[in-house]
């Protein structure tokens, strides 16, 4: 009798890792040339965390996010979403796993808040988009989670930037996905609303167990609120808890040092005197 040995690799951690990048290289490809924006990106994101992506202008934050949400292909390397290769995930399946909030303007603002949030149910509705009772209750709870239930009959063109951002977050919630990716959700907002939106995202990760990844220039707010941060620098991409990153001195090298300096006691940048 022969004994068959089977070697099974089990990684304990991979059970709650939702999004993983391995040797990822991002950029733009044309027929003639390949423009690499960033390469050698590796990170693992835990489920239920709030993750902030920071870096200087033009460093490739948006490119990385666009690659992660499959708007543009990766140059090389793999992205694993829930242990499945993003490349082989169909658009219809992806719509049930990952939702997005982008910086781009809405094509039409003539929709009511309710109608817009209801669009988030599209991956689940029938051919003409009829809402079932389940859809309606999910839409209502999404509206309540971001505190905009009383805005539901307003038209989108009547809303302020801050309100519209909340509506877009509610729409992403209604899509009922494990991961929500937001591209610079705090632009155009005042200081209070920047903090409000990021605090709201933190609350949502705690309440819903969803993983929320956002890019932002609000580094000090991100340090205070995020569970994990991805820092994009000129030469590398670092991922870790904010306090670890501070003690490693990652933020000092984020920007050119002629103007602003990182103060690791307060966790924020100061003008150089």
């Amino acid at each position: 009798m022969k004994t068959v040995y089977r070697v099974v690799f089990v990684s304990k951690k991979s059970q709650n890792i939702i999004l993983k990048a391995e040797q990822l290289s991002i950029g733009y490809k044309t027929k003639k040339a390949e423009t690499v924006v960033a390469s050698n990106i590796n990170f693992e994101l835990q489920q239920g965390q709030l993750i902030g992506l920071v870096g200087a202008n033009g460093i490739g934050k948006s490119t990385l996010l666009r690659t992660l949400i499959k708007v543009q292909p990766a140059l090389s390397g793999t992205i694993l979403l829930d242990d499945k290769d993003l490349k082989s995930t169909s658009t219809t399946d992806l719509a049930k796993q990952l939702s997005i909030v982008l910086t781009e303007q809405l094509t039409s603002k003539n929709l009511s808040v309710y109608e817009l949030v209801a669009l988030g149910r599209h991956p689940y509705t029938n051919w003409i988009g009829n809402l079932t009772d389940k859809d309606i209750s999910i839409i209502n709870s999404s509206l309540k989670q971001v505190n905009i239930f009383d805005l539901k009959d307003k038209r989108c063109y009547e809303l302020s930037d801050g309100q519209l951002q909340k509506v877009m977050i509610a729409r992403a919630l209604a899509q009922d996905t494990d991961v929500i990716v937001l591209d610079e959700p705090t632009t155009h907002l005042d200081m209070y609303h920047k903090a409000y939106i990021l605090k709201l995202l933190q609350k949502l990760t705690k309440e819903t167990g969803k993983t929320i990844l956002f890019s932002s220039h609000e580094i000090d707010l991100a340090i205070q609120l995020c569970d994990t941060m991805i820092v994009m620098r000129k030469d590398d991409v670092v991922c870790g808890q904010p306090c670890q990153l501070i003690s490693k001195g990652v933020f000092e090298s984020l920007f050119p040092e002629d103007l602003i300096l990182f103060d690791d006691k307060s966790g924020s940048f100061r003008i150089k005197k």
């Binding site: 992806l94 719509a95 003539n110 109608e115 988009g129």
Partner: protein, 340 residues
């Protein structure tokens, strides 16, 4: 909560029915109302009035409904697809393609020799030329749109095709006789009449295919309201839906142009007029509303074109713009806001 437009829909349907009967009752020969109903429901037979009503006025009214609703719907599809309130059913170069086809037949017949000239210029040859022309331009646009990712680029390519065909038409008209030019210009006026029941059947068949494709696109159109990237993130197959929307528009607008000539204005204006009453961008509401609205407006325009009590019939193409454009301007000025 969900806003219900039930009353608006009932009101519009009643108005449509009313306009339909008013349209049939008007014409160069005045026929009393009871005889019209008699002819419609077959209680009066073998009279001249019955022939006029069933073979001329009824097909014309039905053509009007198909033309008005079809142009309105294809305008709506194009405005959403191209995210542009100025888009209409003809932005893809459909009407210019049809014009080119017709121009080649009417104006170019001199080039084929006088022998063929009379054989070529029949009703059907114009219909076939117009369909063929718009179909070829459509194929070119579709081929390009499969390569080009950007929706705006398709819009500009459509306009370029329009410029090319307009140039060819000018060259052709430079070399043609006054008689041929007149005939071409008359086609350009648009006409809802002269369609036999057989022609109407073919017209309706193609229109129906386009309509079904449009209804199937409602969900995709709604997610396109967020923008291309959002639509994709909602699981929409962007390329495929874009293809279906363009195909639906081309089928509807192409056949309309083939059978009724290039009727301007309706396709652009009806969606805007509709949005003034149905204050939403939800296509599940807008599509049926645009259908009713388009049919009503063109029936009214056609009734005016008859000039009640006279023998003249004005070109429908002029009336639609003459009556419709001031209404749109007035509505937009009053609302001070373009809703899209």
């Amino acid at each position: 909560m969900k806003i219900n437009y039930k009353y608006q829909f009932i009101a519009l349907s009643v108005i449509l029915l009313l306009c339909f009967f008013v349209n049939i009752s008007l014409g160069s020969i005045s026929i009393p109302m009871d005889s019209i109903f008699g002819s419609l429901f077959g209680t009066i037979e073998n009279s001249t009035w019955e022939v006029i009503v069933t073979d001329f006025r009824l097909p014309k009214a039905i053509t009007a409904i198909l033309v008005g609703s079809g142009l309105g719907i294809s305008g709506l599809l194009m405005q959403t697809l191209f995210r542009n309130p100025l888009a209409g059913p003809f932005v893809l170069g459909i009407s210019s393609g049809a014009s080119l086809g017709v121009a080649l037949v009417i104006l170019g017949s001199g080039l084929f020799g006088s022998l063929f000239a009379t054989a070529l210029i029949s009703k059907w040859s114009i219909v076939i030329a117009a369909s063929l022309g718009s179909f070829l331009v459509l194929l070119a646009v579709l081929a390009v749109s499969n390569k080009v990712r950007d929706t705006m680029a398709i819009l500009i390519i459509g306009l370029m095709f329009g410029s090319i065909t307009a140039a060819v038409v000018s060259v052709l008209s430079y070399f043609s006789s006054a008689e041929q030019l007149q005939q071409y210009i008359f086609w350009g006026f648009g006409s809802l009449s002269n369609l036999s029941w057989d022609e109407l059947l073919i017209f309706f068949g193609i229109y129906l295919i386009g309509l079904i494709l449009s209804i199937a696109s409602i969900k995709g159109l709604n997610s396109l309201l967020l923008g291309d990237n959002y639509a994709k993130s909602l699981g929409l197959n962007l390329k495929q839906s874009r293809l279906i929307i363009i195909l639906a528009t081309s089928l509807i607008a192409g056949t309309i142009t083939a059978f009724a000539g290039p009727i301007a204005f309706i396709g652009l204006a009806i969606p805007h007029l509709t949005r003034q009453i149905f204050k939403t961008s939800n296509h599940k509401v807008l599509l049926p509303a645009v259908f009713l609205y388009g049919a009503i407006v063109i029936l009214i325009c056609d009734s005016i074109a008859q000039i009640p009590g006279s023998d003249y019939t004005l070109p429908i193409n002029a009336i639609t713009a003459l009556v419709g454009a001031p209404v749109v301007i007035w509505l937009l000025v009053r609302q001070r806001k373009m809703m899209f």
